[in-house]
Symmetry: C2
């Protein structure tokens, strides 16, 4: 037996009580029983979004909600601005292209956060832009972008909104949608929400809904106005058949989040991220990001080590699943997740596994150095006796 550990930035581990809740007998989704669960779930979800807007649930992956955010805002020929600093940023451009929307790219070096000045300059060059599309946390490079500052720029414009892919940020960092003036926040089930994939969430501001009225891009399944009418308080249902078992699982997840308390949850994530950075750095590994995310940490494997073989070895021989790199980072990095159902000793497991694997790959490593560095950070969790 090789015990298995899932430490990738999505899917993340699903808590046992959530797995068991979802394993209960199926109920019909067009019943008061389901509507009661739906309404309660939606309300708790809106607390995590920190919004008075509707947090809508879609039966799709996060990419579906990303497309929804574009097509419900734009008409063919419209202009949007997007931050491309990784695989997910790049996707905005691909979605826009499919719908005949002109996408102005702000190219950012992988591992760097976008500069707010670059966004301001793009907005000055393109006052016609309907929105700035950006990741709160770009998972491919484990980098956080300054979404609050970007939202402050579009807040001054009548016809332009800030759309945030927070798929690996919501429920990880404190990002109050309404306070920060984020117009759209998107998330997905298989990240901080600790569920299997297949459920996306999206909340939109009144400013967005207003602009959406004149949008003419074509969609049937992702028509958010139709979903909003169905999902609003008192209706408590969905336009199309919902991913019911995931919504029931989400109900359980949100209760767990409430029990922990959001402040404690954000502090836990921040501590785990800090400890991971300390551990990997102590092993001589260079971080991928200069604005490292709270959700996951990417680090370069040492020169001479084949990163793809390294990640495969960890998974197949040692039972520990991390993510590797994508595109030009393929074979060069390892990404350690710490969002969702993770705590201190998951980080110790992660760092220890990487230490052992580095040793097995013939890299120079002081056994225990990474774990010790992580421990020094994690010890802060407990008061001295």
């Amino acid at each position: 037996m090789i015990k298995q550990y899932l430490l990738s930035p999505g899917p993340t581990a699903v808590p046992e009580r959530v797995l068991l809740r979802m394993a209960q007998p199926m109920i019909h989704h067009r019943t008061p029983q389901f509507s009661a669960i739906f309404a309660e779930t939606k309300q708790m979800l809106e607390e995590v979004f920190q919004t008075k807007n509707d947090a809508l649930m879609l039966a799709s992956s996060g990419s579906g909600a990303m497309e929804a955010s574009v097509v419900n805002l734009c008409s063919p020929g419209d202009t949007i601005i997007y931050v491309n600093g990784g695989k997910f940023g790049e996707r905005w451009g691909k979605i826009a292209a499919k719908h005949g929307v002109r996408a102005v790219e702000i190219k950012v070096e992988w591992g760097s956060a976008v500069s707010v000045d670059a966004v301001a300059a793009a907005l000055a060059d393109h006052p016609e832009a309907k929105g700035v599309f950006v990741q709160a946390s770009e998972t491919s490079t484990t980098t956080e972008h300054p979404i609050r500052e970007i939202a402050a720029l579009t807040a001054k414009m009548d016809g332009c909104v800030t759309v945030v892919d927070a798929i690996t940020a919501l429920g990880v960092i404190d990002m109050p949608m309404d306070d920060w003036g984020l117009d759209v926040v998107i998330s997905g089930s298989q990240k901080a929400f600790m569920l299997p994939p297949g459920l996306a969430m999206i909340a939109c501001s009144e400013k967005y809904w207003k602009l959406a009225e004149s949008a003419s891009c074509s969609t049937f399944y992702f028509d958010l106005a139709t979903e909003r009418k169905s999902q609003m308080k008192g209706k408590d249902t969905t336009a199309w058949t919902p991913a019911a078992s995931l919504i029931i699982g989400l109900n359980e997840v949100l209760k767990m989040m409430r029990e922990e308390g959001m402040a404690a949850l954000y502090a836990r994530h921040a501590l785990l991220a800090k400890a991971t950075r300390a551990g990997l750095t102590a092993l001589g590994m260079k971080l991928v990001s200069s604005a490292p995310a709270t959700s996951a940490t990417g680090a370069f494997v040492p020169e001479g080590v084949d990163g793809a073989a390294f990640v495969k070895y960890l998974r197949d021989t040692m039972g520990v699943t991390f993510a590797g790199g994508q595109d030009h980072l393929k074979g060069k990095i390892v990404r350690v997740a710490h969002l969702g159902y993770y705590d201190l000793f998951d980080i110790i497991t992660a760092i220890s596994a990487i230490e052992i694997a580095l040793d097995r790959f013939g890299a120079e490593v002081t056994m225990g150095a990474g774990v010790a560095a992580a421990q020094r950070v994690l010890a802060d969790r407990f008061d001295k006796v």
Copy 2:
């Protein structure tokens, strides 16, 4: 305690072994482990579709796959023909309208099957039509349409295909996709596939793929050519994050179907449908459909009984969930499902519950008459000793 029975035509009951399979710890979907499950599942799924084409899996409800079948075939301004004999038939027209596709409606009285002549006439009037869109089983009226005969009409045309929504037909009736020349077959997880909702399946013929090359309707998430490239044999993955737990559940479901054998599965469904019709008819209830489906049976409640209250009473007081009627059938009918994880005594439960409820609602009913009629049919399942 009121023991609960789910006898609605979607969601249907999920077998215990499938619930438990899905409750296993999460695995990553970009791994050889998941790809092996994916490849095996897809192959078994194609056996149920009875096709050499790729059966693609989408993280969406069936409505998403319906939209996919339209947008990947058509360009704005194209014409399609659709059969509207109920709520789901109507949906083709709504999807087409969203994408600027001209939809020629063949209106069919609710509860009737479309006449093949009417389809032939529409095709003669509209030789420019890219496709005929039809339900194999229209769930809202529990009616089967003659899909084989319709496919034979479009088979003679170079530029027109038959697109079949088989969401409540695939895995219920024997409908060999390739033998019958069906160009597109669509299904969903929460019907005969005995899973929670959130996974759609779609297979397309070479003729469809050829026509799809020139389609220019806009979609990103439902771009089937992109999905096909990812899901093809040897690639064994999905373009976007898959509904992984449902695919793992589907793997278990398809093994159950193999164990039963498809001939036995079709025979079981046919027998349950026949027994349900016999039971309801013996209670003096009139069937909704003159071409009744094998998936579910709709019947009118007696004059003077409020059908909505009747279905609610069965669910809330007696613990048995059926579906009621939609639109102008609202409050007039009850729909009993018999697709998926159902067997003899589920039908006895259904008929018995309706008998008792009829009695409680003051309708004239001979206690046991419906059950006896159903039993006479179901007894055929067992050889005489």
